[in-house]
């Protein structure tokens, strides 16, 4: 069984898990939420195995590099990171009702990677610019950041949905299992701070790498610039929490704006703008 087949199964595993989580909240059934968690964890383990296999396959082809070298591999790793971060959060909180959005995003990343004709799933050799020990550090840290921001975006959407029913302190129906807004707000803050840490490390490792590859640690390449824009938006979010009246809805909206910037940094720059990171587009 090769890694591509395993990764197709992973795609459906995440879809199934997302469906479990959604139906658990909609029908207010805790066993369904638990099934979502088990399914998500099993899929995550399968994906870990698949990533390891792909790494080995690249050695068999004579290239021998970590599976972080092109758009396909980064999408797959992105899905892995989102699920991993969410499941750790779920364990820490003993709170399972927030799983739908992270797993949905993980599924969408996997589905896009697997089925889009634009994304080439072949294992390719590394171009000279990517041959560096910094590759793993840079990609892993960036994607930990992106994944935390994805989870935070999911929490923010949940917050906005939940908060619109604030007039009712004990909402029934869909929202009965969702934690109260103040708690979501704090979770959101923790997730953003976690993501901000890793985004910073990601930008810094990229910058140190660029200095040895291109001779400059910052060249205002569109990818660099967009990662800085993302960083600035989240920096503004972290500061705005201390402003009066900015907690809650505005922070949730800023988090969604921040994740939009992440998506643009990731996809928009690859497809719409040209620059030094263009090898990420294939």
């Amino acid at each position: 069984m090769n890694s591509s087949l395993l990764l197709s199964i992973v795609t459906f595993g995440y879809l199934l898990s997302a469906i479990f989580y959604l139906s658990g909240v909609v029908f207010q059934r805790k066993p369904l939420l638990a099934a979502g968690g088990v399914c998500g964890l099993a899929t995550l383990l399968l994906q870990t195995a698949a990533l390891g296999r792909r790494w080995m396959e690249s050695y068999a082809l004579g290239y021998g590099h970590a599976p972080f070298a092109n758009l396909y591999e980064s999408l797959v790793f992105g899905a892995w990171a989102i699920t991993c971060i969410y499941l750790v959060l779920e364990r820490r909180l003993k709170q399972r009702s927030l799983g739908f959005f992270p797993l949905l995003i993980a599924f969408m990343a996997m589905a896009y990677a697997s089925f889009s004709p634009e994304v080439d799933s072949k294992i390719q050799p590394l171009v000279p610019a990517l041959k560096s020990n910094w590759l793993i550090a840079h990609v892993v840290t960036c994607f930990l950041g992106y994944a935390a921001f994805a989870v935070s975006c999911g929490i923010s959407i949940t917050y906005l949905l939940r908060d619109s029913k604030l007039s009712n302190p004990n909402p029934s129906g869909f929202m009965a299992m969702i934690p109260e807004p103040r708690r979501l707000d704090e979770l959101n803050h923790q997730m953003v701070l976690f993501g901000f840490l890793w985004l910073s490390v990601g930008i810094i490792t990229g910058s140190v790498w660029a200095n040895s590859a291109w001779g400059t640690y910052w060249s205002w390449d569109p990818k660099e610039t967009w990662s800085l824009i993302t960083w600035l938006v989240y920096a503004a979010l972290l500061h705005s929490r201390s402003l009066k009246g900015w907690r809650g809805r505005r922070v949730a909206k800023l988090s969604i704006l921040g994740f939009t910037c992440v998506l643009f940094t990731y996809f928009g720059v690859n497809f719409l703008l040209s620059g030094l990171h263009s090898y990420g587009a294939k």
């Binding site: 820490r92 390719q124 050799p125 171009v127 000279p128 610019a129 041959k131 560096s132 103040r182 708690r183 704090e186 979770l187 803050h189 923790q190 701070l193 976690f194 901000f196 840490l197 910073s200 490390v201 810094i204 910058s207 140190v208 790498w209 200095n211 040895s212 590859a213 291109w214 001779g215 400059t216 640690y217 910052w218 205002w220 569109p222 610039t225 967009w226 800085l228 824009i229 600035l232 938006v233 920096a235 503004a236 500061h239 705005s240 201390s242 402003l243 720059v269 703008l273």
Partner: protein, 478 residues
């Protein structure tokens, strides 16, 4: 005089405000965004061709074509720095005061107002209670410090605290941003960046600065001994390598190779593999006079004039293009006639029948070209890079500590008086972040106390629903 001072104090207040910080952050984000949409570093002609003359004038006036180096963009960065400094000056003294703060007294009534609190009673004697109480609190939070109460009613009070230093982390992160900006400034003032193309076998000490104007002179010569590019089976590039020799003061000072991700440094100047290409060494061409039908073979060394047989004219291979508009390599020929303007024509190497392969009354065919490789090296000296690295490390440590560390504090008050129905204990706690996790920790702490001291909640009825009532004021109490 009075007015002026109040203006400055208002101005200073604005500079030190969080709203100003957020404004600067968004302004930097928005302007950076504009810079990714407009092509940067292009020539004025390109901009006019793309956006029209009127738009080009606006773009030029605002410096949008080189936005990240424009004065006003740097002013924004400077304002960010000023805001950071002013905010630090405003807030650091208060934080330091807070760091030095010691509780002089603990009042049970105040403790009961904190979000996390518990009150319990045990029939154990105080001598039995105290070691258990101190052990449990110090295991959960940290070392217990006794507060000597001035009131002298014999009550016991203590605090346990962890991670107060984490309050400083925000200043560490802010300092790191300033350090990075300082490093960037140092690099741009004391460093240089330039680009050099060297053909195989040649040496040069000239590099081209990014502005494209003038020549940057290195204090030594660089010779390209060999340029090598290798490919994977599928055709993707595998490695680019320039073997170079540094010639300093007439002798070979350093031999080494420059590869992507593996630069070469000599005397603080670093060379990076950036590009490569081919240059023409010489071209053999065949020209046919379309009137007389006579055919001549000529060998044109690159950029050297060669006589055209039976005429007074001379011809030169002036320029070589590796790929002209997708038609493959092309040679630009210049024909010099006495008393006339030089005539230029572009000849396609791989398309002998191309109608443009001619000059005057001659048809031209390229028989053979001989090329040599050249390498494109980025040359840089940046004394600020170590400052930037220091800033980066500080930033990671600061944000990491801000994420993982948080301050937690627990207050304990107990009536030691025996014989009045046992010992009354009041415990309260506060955390500056991750408050829900802290609530759980605090609850576990109280549960452990209740079990080990066989204590009961003193105010069972009032504490019956502690969360609903107490959470509301949880944020205001510090």
């Amino acid at each position: 005089m009075e007015d002026k001072r109040s203006f400055w104090s208002v101005f200073y207040e604005q500079l030190a405000s969080l709203k100003f910080t957020i404004f600067i952050l968004f302004a930097l984000a928005a302007t950076s965004l504009v810079g990714t949409l407009l092509p940067q570093g292009g020539s004025q002609e390109e901009i006019v061709a793309r956006y029209g003359a009127a738009m080009a004038k606006i773009i030029d006036m605002l410096g949008l074509a080189d936005l990240y180096h424009a004065g006003w963009f740097r002013l924004l960065l400077l304002l960010l720095g000023v805001n950071l400094i002013v905010c630090t000056m405003e807030r650091l003294p208060k934080t330091l005061k807070l760091l030095r703060y010691r509780d002089r007294t603990v009042e049970p009534e105040k403790l009961l107002k904190l979000a996390s609190h518990a009150e319990m009673k045990t029939s154990f004697t105080w001598d039995q209670v105290r070691p258990v109480l101190e052990r449990i609190v110090s295991e959960t939070i940290g070392p217990v410090r006794r507060v000597e109460m001035p009131s002298g009613d014999g009550a016991y009070a203590a605090v346990a605290e962890k991670g107060r230093w984490s309050l400083l982390m925000v200043y560490v992160v802010h300092l790191s941003v300033l350090v990075v900006l300082l490093g960037a400034l140092t690099g741009s003032v004391f460093g240089f960046k330039a680009f050099m193309n060297i053909a195989e076998g040649e040496s040069t000490d000239e590099a081209e600065p990014p502005s494209g104007n003038g020549v940057f002179q290195l204090p030594f010569q660089v010779r390209l001994d060999k340029f090598d590019v290798s490919f994977y089976e599928g055709g993707m590039p595998k490695d680019y390598r320039s073997d170079v020799t540094i010639i300093d003061g007439g002798r070979e000072a350093l031999k080494g190779s420059v590869r992507v991700n593996d630069p070469l440094t000599y005397n603080g100047v670093t060379f990076y593999q950036a590009s490569y290409g081919s240059v023409l060494k010489q071209a053999e061409i065949e020209i046919q006079n379309t009137q007389s039908g006579a055919v001549y073979k000529l060998t044109l060394p690159f950029k050297e004039m060669v006589d055209i047989p039976e005429t007074q004219s001379k011809i030169m291979a002036m320029h070589y293009e590796e790929d002209f508009s997708g038609f493959g390599p092309a040679i630009v020929l210049v024909v010099f006639d006495e008393g006339a303007k030089p005539a230029v024509s572009r000849v396609l190497v791989n398309h002998p029948d191309f109608h443009g392969n001619q000059f005057q009354n001659y048809r031209v065919r390229v028989l053979r070209t001989e090329q040599s490789r050249y390498t494109g090296l980025q040359v840089k000296r940046d004394p600020g890079v170590w400052i930037v690295w220091c800033g980066f490390i500080t930033m990671i440590l600061g944000i990491g500590a801000a994420y993982w560390m948080g301050s937690r504090k627990v207050w304990v008050w107990a009536s030691t008086g025996a014989g009045k129905g046992g010992v009354r204990i009041v415990v309260a706690g506060r955390a500056d972040k991750d408050t829900f996790a802290f609530e759980q920790i605090f609850e576990d702490l109280c549960e452990q106390l209740r079990t080990e001291l066989k204590a009961e909640d003193a105010n069972a009825a009032a504490d019956g629903a502690p969360k609903a009532g107490s959470r509301k004021n949880g944020q205001e109490i510090r």
